[in-house]
Amino acid sequence: MEDTMRFKRFLKEENLPTPWCPGCGNGQILKSACQAFEELNFDKRQVVIVSGIGCAGRSAGFFDMDSVHTAHGRAIPVAEGIKTANENLKVVVLSGDGDLLGIGGNHLLHATRRNTPISIICYSNEIYGMTGGQVSPTTRLNTKTVTTPEGNKDCPVNVQAIIKAHNCFYARSTTFHLAHLKKSIIEALRHPGLSFVDVICQCIVNNGRRVGFKDAFEMLMYYKNNYKINDNTELLKENEIGITRWTSA
C-alpha cells in the first residue's frame, strides 16, 4: 500500500462500499476528513464522529471509531453533549445542509453562540438528496427542485454570516479543490473553538441532472471554473472559497 492510502485506517472497510450513488461527492468528503485525521496523526480513540439524517448523515456509519448516528437535525447538540462530558475528545460532526441548517438550524445558532469546541463539516449539496431532491436551505435562487418546479424564490441561508457573527471559524471549499478541502478541514480541527467547514459537493442524481449536468465530472468542472481560492479575507464572496481570517476576540 502506498502512503497515499494510509487514511483508510480510520474506516471500517467491511462497511464499504458506501450506499451513495455513483459519482456522489459525499465519498470525497469522507475521504478528505480521514486524510486530515491522518495528517494530524489522530489516535482513533481520541475522535468521535456525529452525524444526523440524510445521505450525508450516513457518514458516521463508516468509521472505525466511536460514532453516533443521531435523529434528524440533532447532530450538533449530541456533539456538544459529548464534548461537555469529555473535553479531551475531538468531536467532529459530519452531516448535510438540510440536517444542519434546516431542521437543525436552531442548534447551529446556539452552538456558535456558545462557541463549543467542536468541528462541523457540512455537505452542502444544495438539496435534500435522500428524500428525492426537495429544496434545501442552501438551494440557490431560481434553481429548479422537486418542490420548486418554477425555480426557488427564497434567498439561501447565509451560513458564513451566522458563523462569523459569533466569531467562530468558517471555511468554504469544494469536492474539486481537494488539497484546499483537506487544508480547510485540518485548520478547522486545529481551531480552539467552534469550526465550520462548508463543502460544496455534487448530488448528481437528485440535483445535478435536473439542473442540466450530464455527470458528476461536469459538476466538478463547474466548481473548478466557478470558484476562486481566497484564503486571505475575513468574508468570502459568493464565487470564492477559502479559509476566512479569524481574530480572537
Partner: protein, 73 residues
C-alpha cells in the same frame, strides 16, 4: 525504446460504481469503462489523479520503479 509505464492501477471492482469520474481526469486516457467495467491500460504515468478523485476508494495507484540499465563502460 518504447515508453515504459510508470504506474499500476489496482481497481477494486467491489467498490467501483462506474461513475466515470476517473477516466475523464486521466491525462493519458489510460482508464475506460468497457462493457460496464472499469479497465486500465498500460499508459499510466502515476499522476494519482484517478486515485485522488475516486469518491469510493476503488483505486490504488502503485508506482513502478524501473532500474536504469546503462552499458558497462
Amino acid at each position: 525504446m518504447a515508453r515504459q509505464r510508470k504506474g499500476e492501477v489496482a481497481i477494486n471492482h467491489n467498490y467501483c460504481k462506474r461513475c466515470n469520474i476517473c477516466p475523464q481526469f486521466c491525462p493519458t486516457k489510460n482508464l475506460e469503462i468497457v462493457g460496464g467495467k472499469l479497465v486500465s491500460y498500460d499508459r499510466c504515468i502515476a499522476c494519482f489523479a484517478c486515485e485522488r478523485y475516486c469518491p469510493d476508494l476503488a483505486i490504488e495507484v502503485v508506482k513502478i520503479y524501473h532500474v536504469e540499465t546503462t552499458p558497462a563502460g
